[in-house]
Symmetry: C2
Subunit: 201 residues, 2 copies
Amino acid sequence: MPRPKTRIQIRNSETILEAALDVFSAHGFRGATLDQIAEGAGLSKPNLLYYFPSKEAIHQTLLTRLLETWLDPLREMDPNGDPVAEVMGYVRRKLELSRDYPRESRLFAIEILQGAPRMREAIEGDLTALVAEKAKVLRHWMEEGRIARLDPVHLVFSIWALTQHYADFDVQVRTVLGEGHDPYAEAGAFLETLYMRLLAP
Amino acid sequence: MPRPKTRIQIRNSETILEAALDVFSAHGFRGATLDQIAEGAGLSKPNLLYYFPSKEAIHQTLLTRLLETWLDPLREMDPNGDPVAEVMGYVRRKLELSRDYPRESRLFAIEILQGAPRMREAIEGDLTALVAEKAKVLRHWMEEGRIARLDPVHLVFSIWALTQHYADFDVQVRTVLGEGHDPYAEAGAFLETLYMRLLAP
DNA sequence: GCAAGATCTGACCATCCGGTCAAAACCCAT
DNA sequence: ATGGGTTTTGACCGGATGGTCAGATCTTGC
């Protein structure tokens, strides 16, 4: 089964990945079982393994897809745009990603937390390269005096940390806030203030 | 074995917890095995279970200890001190915690990521209460015009997110920064700037 | 409507893992 | 040194889990 071709193959592959995302993001790789994924996908376990050669392969497929989604908002940061607006836009898009794809965020977090055993090369390659490229853009803006002088890489880290926190620590955030709060709306306002103050030259 | 009493009991219990922290923080609860912990502690598996009744019990002991360490720096924030200095002090202490106890940070992160199945009540109780108390202090400082008006709870979240990021995503941070960097020193400087700008009234 | 291929399944296997237990080894006060 | 309690261990158990396989069932192009 190199590449899905028939309609059934496409549909079932997607169903499996969807169910697997649920299970992997909730329990980690080791904590997830094929039976749980099969249950979630409404398929039998041997049928899962008809579409994917192994548990590992399902996980790998999810991680590969994930990284693209993850880096896109940063890629969109335009070197020719208005510096503050561009950074603010990135913050906003990244927060939306946390809000709309919390399972992906958690899957990624679990992987990195455990030392990125199945993502090392992607991080060393694409991710590092993209950050280096965008750090250069940020540094340029700083030299022009259009945003405050800061360590550009740590600036990016701060955006990652602050936005992913709301997806990854969702339980804690909601518990501490209590009832009657919209975490993401509040986070959006808070981060807006934070970065406006931080970036002002 | 209700409470360790003899010297051997104390020594072995500590050795086990130390090894268990290594393994749990690296692989999560489900990913950790008693054999790995036993290996790390230099004891046989049945001998582990002479000191702790179950894998679960070892994990629980670690989590309970952890929460204390974790909340202490926030507890130390003094309502009668200088507002900016107090918040900056908390940021610094929390970052030191990430630097000096990264395994504890990851253990905590994994637990929350997975929905805090074994920490719910602690989060709903002690943690939420402490944050509420300190949020009140922060709000008071804001009303006095001594620090900027912000959502105090999200301010605390931001401190957690930014400091824990360096422990939890250590692999990513080091990979992206490349050789010749001291992540925590740089983070200290960056966060100093960030919070000085954010808190200025 | 009928092969030929694609899809699906029940039964099964080997391994891993948390945990038990009886007995051995060890420690120490008398 | 000896006896009673403490500590340690090899052997083992039962259930879970990733994965296999032979064959049954369904789809589809003709």
